[in-house]
């Protein structure tokens, strides 16, 4: 290393404006060699904008970026790569219609370049002839990571990489990050999971409303301090308090299940080889948690529940009648509605918030030509109830991830439902919005709705749910009161390690 500058990356006074909306206002950030640096902030604080600028996907309005003390002009993604910055974006930058091998080829790489990294992430046996669209998202993230590493970057930027990963997959990523650090390279890590951040990172830059408000040495900081910095003093305390209260409100209400009517029941449901005989009952007013490692049949189970797929055998009983759904339309008519994992699948990204909220109302033929006054009001009340930020509301795609998720839930509030299926609803969402969503789910349950909540974040289970089921290999292997569930216990059940309670 002949360089004299101690800083690997120095971003100075970075500003970016989208029309009237200021995304970044004179942000400074410094990353030293051999450090894992966290970039933290609530949704809409400007983290993604910062990452896009550093990877040259967009250009800053003003400000400078220097790498190893040399001013760098980042105009297109290949400039960033040449400067030694490689990025793994939230949506893997892989071409869906090409095979994995062809994708490597267009990035000037060969299979041998990524193989060492894939081996370490337990993906050594991967078939490069597969088309990207046939590969699960979590695997694509890891592949994208391997591809970024193969470019041998000085700075590796990871934008919410752990969001869709299971615990074991995330641990591979952490290992790789530590290894990268030990090579005196650096990582810029973006995550909403503060536990991960505190465990892995050395320093943190905190963004709030487009400005860097604090830098932390993470050796002696706790989550509450980070949250307070991210949200500002008042809001931060509220958010911490909110997640505490939702915990309290969940814990004492030990549901008297037997007294409540069963609204939805599965009897020995199979779906090809993905779901192998799942039975459970969902009671009115209950939040039923479901968790599993990646690919244990949870996707198939939700496809059955939401009416997307008919089970190959077994029964789905809703309100006492068997539901044989040909499409989600049938399930929705029976009051079973889905908040899917991919927000983009549920929303019309180019349409307004209000239009998206009223979309399910179009189902009623009598409403095809008009939106009655009371329904307009229902849409308005959903906006209020969810506290959706509608400033950028003319196109849903401009909203932050958290606000988009609120819209996907809000759609069903406006149209009404009995059973809400949520698949990882807080993926990639900041702590304040998470707390709002937890609170909302609890309110909905208290008002008599039933909720099935799949989550990959185990700490949500005791926080939000009444009861929890753990899936492994297409079966329910574990059931318990959510209040007494521990992350360790759930994790070992999710690995299929436990033969005990069922």
């Amino acid at each position: 290393m002949t360089t004299t500058s101690p800083d690997l990356l120095a971003a100075r006074e970075i500003s970016k404006q989208y029309g009237p909306v200021v995304a970044l206002r004179s942000v400074d950030m410094t990353v030293r060699p051999g450090e894992i640096h966290a970039l933290l902030g609530a949704n809409g604080a400007g983290k993604s904008t910062m990452v896009k600028i550093l990877s040259a996907v967009i250009s800053a309005d003003s400000g400078s970026v220097s790498v190893h003390g040399e001013a760098t002009h980042l105009r297109k993604p290949s400039d960033a790569m040449q400067a030694g910055i490689a990025t793994v974006f939230q949506d893997p930058a892989l071409i869906p219609d090409l095979t994995l091998a062809q994708n490597l080829r267009i990035s000037h790489l060969s299979e041998d370049d990524v193989m060492p990294w894939l081996d370490r992430m337990n993906l050594g046996g991967i078939d490069f002839g597969l088309q990207v669209q046939d590969v699960p998202l979590a695997v694509l993230r890891l592949l994208d990571l391997a591809r970024a590493l193969a470019h041998d970057p000085q700075l590796l930027m990871l934008d919410e990489i752990t969001a869709a990963l299971t615990t074991d997959q995330a641990s591979y990523v952490f290992e790789v990050m530590r290894e990268w650090k030990s090579r005196n390279r650096s990582v810029l890590f973006i995550s909403h999971r503060l536990g991960e951040v505190l465990e892995l990172c050395d320093y943190a830059t905190i963004l709030r409303n487009g400005t860097n408000v604090a830098d932390f040495d993470l050796t002696d900081v706790d989550e509450a301090q980070l949250v307070t910095a991210m949200l500002g003093d008042e809001l931060g305390e509220q958010a911490v308090a909110a997640s505490e209260t939702s915990k309290e409100s969940a814990a004492p209400t030990l549901v008297q299940e037997a007294d409540r009517p069963v609204v939805l029941e599965l009897k020995d449901v199979h779906l090809s080889d993905k779901v192998n005989g799942v039975s459970f009952k969902l009671h009115q007013g209950e939040i039923l948690g479901l968790t599993a490692l990646e690919g244990q049949g949870q996707n198939g189970l939700f496809q059955v529940l939401s009416g997307d797929h008919r089970p190959s055998s077994g029964e789905l009983i809703v309100d006492g009648d068997e539901l044989s759904a040909r499409s989600p339309y049938d399930a929705i008519r029976k009051g079973v509605v889905l908040v899917p994992a991919e927000r983009q699948n549920a929303l019309l990204p180019q349409r307004s918030v209000r239009e998206n909220l009223s979309l399910p109302l179009y189902n009623r033929i009598s409403k095809w030509f008009t939106l009655a006054r009371d329904e307009t009001e229902r849409v308005e009340s959903a906006v209020d109830r969810l506290d959706i930020d509608v400033r950028a509301g003319s196109q849903v795609q401009r909203l932050s991830g958290g606000n988009q998720q609120k819209v996907t839930i809000g759609r069903w509030l406006a149209s009404g439902f009995d059973t809400l299926l949520c698949f990882d609803p807080t993926r990639g969402i900041d702590i304040q919005t998470k707390a709002q969503i937890y609170e909302l789910l609890r309110q909905l349950a208290d008002d008599g709705s039933s909720i099935v909540l799949y989550t990959s974040e185990l700490r949500e289970i005791p926080l939000v749910c009444d009861r929890v089921l753990v899936m492994y290999n297409g079966r329910i292997v574990h059931e318990q009161d959510a209040a007494s569930a521990t992350e360790e216990g759930l994790l070992s059940a999710a690995h299929g390690l436990e033969g005990a309670s069922a």
């Binding site: 071409i95 869906p96 080829r105 002839g129």
Partner: protein, 337 residues
């Protein structure tokens, strides 16, 4: 631990031939359809021999080239309504300048015409990229422009070319004969070269990448604009080949040919050939039989004794039926996954 995931992504999880059929089943199917149609046709007409065979391939050549032109552009996420106009323009310009020239000179003119078409159509691609106006609007303009330019060059049908040049595309000095090989070779060489380029080289794969997911392509360091310009250039070359073969077959130029109709045929052909109009999917090799089949429909219907005035109705219905079958196959496949 993550057993099911690991299984689905592991090497050898599906038999190779099964996957090969899944990827290339459509190509195989279209070729088979062509073989079946030819076999059927041979029973419909009194005599079927090398003359009939050569006629189909030779006269289908412009359709094949035009479909290939459209395919390359659509794979890259574009659409070019101008290819039919480029066919007419090339046909007219070459017929005018080749008239009375020696074989060597006609070849020089042909090469110059291809190069000019590449440059002109790449320029159209540049306009599309730079202006961000949808392809369909810009290329509607280029269609009229090419067609109008053709009329200016040769207001009345006429012109000519050398006998050697006619033989090159038709196997005959007079544009019709019993030798199918020159036309076959003239189709095979450029199609195979472009198929190899698209599937195996980084610059070729970039076309699929940009057509499939423009953002992901950009993030992978591909320059989407430049890729589209390249696609339009290559498409222009194929459209010029279509024009050259028209000159060779007809032995003259005709600016009254309706280029717009040929464009629409090229779109129908690529859809039949399995190219997704949304971009990123398809192969130029499957487009060859698709172009021949579309050309071939009217001789078949004539041989069946269908009133030529009604033939278009049947052609339209056939195209829709074939596409519905394709949709059904695709739907069943996705249902199984």
């Amino acid at each position: 631990m993550t057993t099911s995931t690991a299984d689905t992504i592991a090497a050898g999880s599906t038999p190779t031939w099964q996957r090969w059929m899944r990827r290339h089943g459509w190509t195989v199917g279209v070729w088979l359809l062509l073989v079946v149609l030819v076999a059927w046709y041979s029973t419909l007409i009194p005599s079927f021999g090398s003359f009939q065979f050569a006629t189909i391939i030779t006269n289908g050549t412009p359709w094949v080239f035009l479909a290939a032109a459209q395919a390359v552009i659509v794979i890259a996420g574009g659409l070019d309504l101008g290819v039919g106009g480029m066919l007419v323009l090339t046909n007219v310009a070459t017929a005018r300048f080749m008239d009375g020239q020696s074989f060597e000179v006609t070849i020089m003119i042909a090469i110059a015409a291809i190069l000019a078409a590449v440059v002109i159509n790449a320029f159209v691609g540049w306009i599309v990229t730079a202006s961000k106006v949808p392809d369909i609007v810009i290329t509607l303009g280029s269609l009229y422009f090419y067609q109008g330019l053709a009329l200016a060059i040769l207001p009345n049908p006429g012109g000519g070319t050398s006998e050697g040049f006619r033989w090159l595309f038709t196997g005959s000095d007079v544009g019709t004969g019993s030798n199918p090989w020159p036309a076959t070779v003239m189709i095979a060489i450029p199609i195979l070269v472009v198929a190899w380029w698209l599937g195996k080289t980084r610059s070729g794969l970039s076309l699929y990448a940009v057509g499939s997911d423009r953002t992901a392509a950009y993030l992978s360091g591909i320059r989407a604009g430049r890729t589209k310009i390249v696609a339009f250039g290559v498409g222009g070359a194929f459209a010029a080949m279509a024009g050259l073969s028209t000159t060779a077959i007809a032995g003259s130029g005709n600016a009254n040919t309706v280029g717009g109709n040929m464009t629409l045929n090229s779109v129908a052909a690529i859809v039949l050939g399995g190219v997704a109009l949304t971009g990123g999917i398809g192969s130029v090799i499957a487009v060859v039989p698709a172009g021949l089949i579309l050309f071939f429909l009217s001789p078949i219907l004539t041989a069946m004794g269908v009133d030529p005035n009604r033939a278009q109705i049947i052609q339209g219905v056939l195209i829709v039926v074939v596409m519905m079958i394709a949709g059904l196959i695709e739907w069943r496949r996705q249902r199984r996954v």
